[in-house]
Amino acid sequence: MNKKILNKIFIYFSLCFVSFVSLFPSLWILLTSLKSEKEIHSSNIHLIPQNPNFENYLNVFKELPDLITYIKNSTIITGIVVISTLIIASFAGYAFARMKFKCSSVLLGSILFVITIPAVVFLIPIYTMEANLGILNTYIGLIIPYIASSLPFAIFIMRGTYRGISNSIEEAAIIDGCSSFQLFYKIMVPLGIQGIITVAVLTFLSIWGEFILAFSLVEESRMRTLPVGIVLLKGEGGSWSYGLLSAAVIISIIPSVILFLILQRYFVRGIMQGAIKG
């Protein structure tokens, strides 16, 4: 009996330790953002702010007006990519799950194959292509490659979702005189809502934080997205205001963290699904 309690204590202790290590970097930035500049630069660093205040959050948009531009760009781009990916992947995933057509397995195989390719392989030709088309430094120049790179995984998840829906529902709908398209959007889409949420969450998180494409395909400051913009903010001043920088970092990760806290279930399941079948 004693051993059991000891065991429990050991488990709790280890979990607390691991949780602390894994949360520490974000926690530290959060606490730093509540400190004054003077406190941050003092030689004796206290983890807990001596005099917590929201000064940095009040000043960050005034002192760093570019931050608003970055947030706007990221929001527009991520929003359009998530919605388009959802719509396009729902259709394609449904077709791959439920319809018979020539070359379907070859097509699906080659779409899934793309997932393993490192981005730099297709980034180089995309860059020259976009330079020729004159769409570097535009929203569309980022949105289309983002959709293209999000689609394979999204199609994969949606296909899995629609395959899991029982055949008899589909048959009943056809007997009731549903057309193919009605069957899809009146019955299959509502039944596949879990897959849709999973795709939305995973796409949002990957696009909101995407760095390489955003860094390469956009050179003008006013078109930068948040992940790239924040790095630039850090680089510009060098030693300037860490308090403001940490407030900016916290602001930029808040959407991801909130989404994760609310929809963690879907997120975790998405990763497991991708892993188990991928």
Binding site: K8, I11, Y12, V18, S19, S22, L23, P25, S26, W28, I29, I45, I88, A89, F91, A92, Y94, M99, F101, I111, V114, T116, P118, V120, V121, F122, L123, P125, I126, M129, I144, I147, A148, S149, F184, L205, W208, G209, F211, I212, F215, S216, P227, V228, I230, V231, Y242, L245, S252, I253, V257, L259, F260, F267, V268, I271, M272, A275, I276, G278
Partner: protein, 294 residues
């Protein structure tokens, strides 16, 4: 009826396939073609077809590439076993029936959603020489002699990056292991209980053998993660100091977008892609044979 269904399928997949074709397949093939040329983006002359010369130069002559290759391997060799063992332990702990489990899971999975560039900024700051919390902590526990310019010193920079990659790797891999653990039927452990097994025996004889699938996945992710590591290095060190953190990805990226030797960069990118494909093919094969034996 059949004819009709056949047609609509193409309408359903058309948007997806056309976008993936023009912005994935075509660039991937174009990249393969470019890797056989001496294409330089800033050079107006027509690129010449030089067959395997880029590949031969990279693999046998370019010491910078070979060094980057070595660093990529080093990252994998050090971080992979640590990440695997630690995340297996974390996943086992997260599968225990205890109170506040969901809080622990949330805390441990959270690093997964912190974007790469933001966590690179945070870690760069942790390691920073004067304002970094790491040096400050060392001083407080009277280990001041260990204080270090972690990312600035060629001796420690790569290890500092490996430590960060372990931090972010544990979150992902414990999700994967936990997925496998949840799938193990409870009865096996109950049977073990009746036989009077202890914690360690259960781990060695029940848990680990049944986690072969997740193990193979974790290793695929491990290979890919090590080869695809870019954002954190680019932001934290840019490949420096003295090229000690230059890896395959940063090497390729610099060739493509700093010196604009795009043909050469494509060859280097393809070497990365081929390694990934070979290793994941190998892993799939292993997974298949395991399934066959079971």
């Amino acid at each position: 009826m059949k004819e009709n269904k056949f047609n609509t399928a193409y309408i359903y997949i058309f948007p997806a396939c056309s976008i993936i074709f023009f912005f994935m397949f075509y660039p991937i093939i174009k990249s393969l073609y470019l890797s056989f040329t001496n294409y330089v983006y800033t050079d107006v002359s027509v690129p010449k077809f030089i067959l395997f010369k880029n590949y031969i130069n990279l693999l046998f002559k370019d010491t910078a590439f070979l060094k980057a290759f070595k660093h990529t391997c080093l990252i994998f060799i050090i971080s992979f076993p640590l990440i695997t063992i630690l995340s297996l332990i974390v996943a086992v702990l997260l599968n225990e029936k205890i109170k506040y489990l969901s809080i622990f899971r949330t805390a441990i999975f959270l690093p997964l959603v912190i974007p790469g560039s933001q966590s690179a900024i945070i870690w760069q700051w942790i390691y920073s020489n004067d304002l970094g919390i790491l040096n400050n902590f060392l001083q407080k526990v009277h280990l001041g002699f260990l204080c270090h310019n972690w990312l600035g010193d060629p001796k420690t920079a790569l290890f500092a990056i490996i430590a960060m990659s372990i931090w972010s790797g544990i979150a992902l891999n414990s999700v994967l292991f936990l997925g496998g653990l949840i799938a193990i039927p409870e009865e096996l452990y109950e049977a073990g209980d009746i036989d009077g097994t202890n914690w360690r025996q259960r781990l060695v004889y029940i848990t680990v053998p049944l986690l072969k699938g997740p193990f193979i996945l974790v290793s695929i992710y491990g290979f890919m993660g090590a080869i695809k590591i870019f954002t954190s290095i680019w932001i934290m060190t840019g490949g420096g100091p003295a090229d000690t953190t230059e890896v395959l990805y940063t090497f390729t990226y610099k060739k493509a977008f700093m010196t604009f030797e795009m043909g050469y960069a494509c060859a280097s990118a393809y070497i990365m892609a081929i390694i990934i494909l070979l290793l994941s093919w190998l892993n799939m094969r292993l997974l298949k044979t395991e399934k066959g034996e079971l």
